[in-house]
């Protein structure tokens, strides 16, 4: 029995390589490091070619110390907003082969935020609507709390509260 178990696990690995590749989130390494910020047009052209972009589309992040170097400032397009019917090379990421990844790709994947979603109602207005409604309900609740409604019946009498009536006939 104990001999069979390792065999089963190794068969699992052979059948589904994805488990091995995706189960380990590897550390950032030197190959991921972008180059220097391009200052001359020649450097820009070289950088655009490196990132497989047309030079008109290539625009690096501003050199403000964020350390992104020559990485292109791609438009933020969320995974969910991309066309689901287009035959992507990698349908899970909705990405074609060698297409440059956005610098914040962790945030805009299909299982994360949809930053390109065009909300019917803007998010700030949704906040306003929600809190206005809750606030209005609270105001109504508070006002109505002053005007309590109850059935016109006598209050229930408990002996522990002291005085209570026994409804005996009045002694003459």
């Amino acid at each position: 029995m104990s001999l069979i178990r390792p065999l089963t696990i190794s068969r699992l690995c052979i059948k589904n390589h994805g488990i091995l590749y995706t189960a380990v989130r590897n550390h950032w390494n030197k190959d991921f490091k972008p180059g220097e910020f391009p200052k001359t047009p020649e450097q820009r052209a070289l950088a655009a070619e490196k990132y497989q972009l047309v030079s008109e589309d290539y625009k690096p992040y501003p050199n403000d110390g964020s350390g992104l170097g020559d990485y292109p400032d791609l438009p933020m397009e969320s995974g969910e907003s991309k066309d689901p019917f287009y035959p992507w090379d990698n349908p899970e990421l909705k990405r074609n082969f060698n297409e440059p990844l956005h610098a914040d790709v962790d945030m805009i994947g299909e299982d994360r935020y949809d930053v390109t979603a065009r909300h019917r109602v803007p998010v700030w207005l949704q906040y306003v609507q929600f809190f206005a409604w809750m606030g209005g309900a609270f105001v109504l609740y508070y006002i109505a709390d002053k005007m309590k409604w109850f059935l016109a019946a006598a209050e229930k009498q408990y002996p522990r509260n002291g005085k209570h009536y026994t409804f005996e006939p009045k002694e003459e």
């Binding site: 110390g65 964020s66 350390g67 914040d104 945030m107 299909e110 299982d111 935020y113 949809d114 930053v115 909300h119 019917r120 109602v121 998010v123 949704q126 906040y127 609507q129 929600f130 409604w133 809750m134 309900a137 609270f138 109504l140 609740y141 006002i143 109505a144 709390d145 002053k146 005007m147 309590k148 409604w149 109850f150 059935l151 019946a153």
Partner: protein, 566 residues
Amino acid sequence: MYFVFLLFFSLLSFSSSIYFMISDYSVMLEYELFTLNSNVVYMSILFDWMSLLFMSFVLFISCMVIFYSDEYMGGDLNMVRFILLVVMFVASMMFLIISPNLISILLGWDGLGLVSYCLVIYYQNVKSYNAGMITALSNRIGDVALLISIAWMMNYGDWNYIFYLDFMKDDFMMSIIGGLVMLAGLTKSAQIPFSSWLPAAMAAPTPVSSLVHSSTLVTAGVYLLIRFSTGLSNNLMMFLLFVSMLTMFMAGLGANYEFDLKKIIALSTLSQLGLMMSILALGDYFLAFFHLLTHALFKALLFMCAGCMIHNLSNTQDIRFMGGLINYMPLTCCYFNVCNMALCGLPFLSGFYSKDLILEVVSMGYLNLFVYFIFYFSTGLTVCYSVRLSYYTMFGDFNFYGVQNISDTGLTMLKGMSGLIFLVVFGGSMLSWIMFPTPYFIVLPFVMKLMVVVVVLFGVYVGYEFSKFMISYSLKAMDYLYSSLFFSSMWNLPVLSTFGVNYYPIYFGGLYYKSFDHGWSEYFGSQNIYNNMSGYSKFFQLIFGNNIKIYLSFLVVWVLCLFLFL
């Protein structure tokens, strides 16, 4: 096999609960795990009529659901995983029900959250993943609140809260503990502002929705608050009443705009949970427990019927594609109708006994008018969306494809459902005869007594008007688009509690990451410490080079020090 075990234990605990109820008997088993000075950690188990009755209901519904899922999930490659997850869920629920101790409740509570996450992500697609995330993270807030309340309870020296509730009601620490436990209950039972996870969790398979998201997981919050209700202060009760009342209202409104079958039933569950919490906040935890039990029965069956319909219509969940199903699936639709009518509070079905009693007790109480209005309006909304749902699924025109095979021949599923139908019809009356030794004394004017009936009839009429669905019909909701969007999207809660709450923190977190983790932390931390250390070690290596000049200069320095300090 699991079916037989669960059925046996369900019947055993039901009979025990009746015996315990009649003889007013309860058993508490305590095992001392360890002692920290005066704090004692016990592993406790409390068998009283309430816990045994709830256990029996949970076990019965789970055994029917496992039997039902034999056919519903038949042919699924991961069936073993599914059944094991359901059994683990039931085990966690048992832990929660029989615990009079906060620490052992945590075992069950965290177990429920974890297993419900695993069940929601069962179908591995992006939507299920997102739904699982929001379920797990919303429940996690409650778990954290419970953990903090465990820390606060160290002040009392013991975690068996049942001993402290009556005595410490006015204590400041108890109010904190009560507030935290209430927060935990609000998250688990999906009250405002944590409501967005319940409709999202409908990404789970239907048997899971039937067991977990209608009868057991969501009622765990209500059960915890039922146990704690004597220890909650008046301010907390007022807040709970406000929140749960609005949840009831919001869910009722939302269900009238939805077109996904499971989401309508989920919002219906949410509305009834709001009702349970409201009546608990008004002080009557007994009625809340009664409604919890009856609701579990008919809601589980409602989900199972919905599952039958979805299964037959090749996994379509949109009610606009359903219609006239009563001609093809008469028994399923019959059960569906009975459950809907029980939900609306039709006289003498199970829902009537609990719901009508709640409304009458509310009418008799000393309440503010707004609360009273919301209660009755929500009841009307319940009827409205139930009629709308029935119209769309069963009585309208047939809207599905021309060639189809819709029938009631899924015998295993039908048998699973048939186990519950008798309880749906008779359970309310039986429970009311057992649980209430003396009935509630309701004295109401005739008009007020009729109010419920009037509201129900009005709801039927409005539900029918809302759901007219013809080619030439213009949807009234389109004329009032902004308000329709607001009400249909659960008052914007799904967007606000995901995107609204997380996006800016993560964005600013990214900026902090750049400036602190990649910037100043490197300067004060790893990189600069490394540079400094390597500088010092270079300096010392110079000294260790056995240079005679350095040796002599150290000798001079040492002599100087001797003269200075001695």
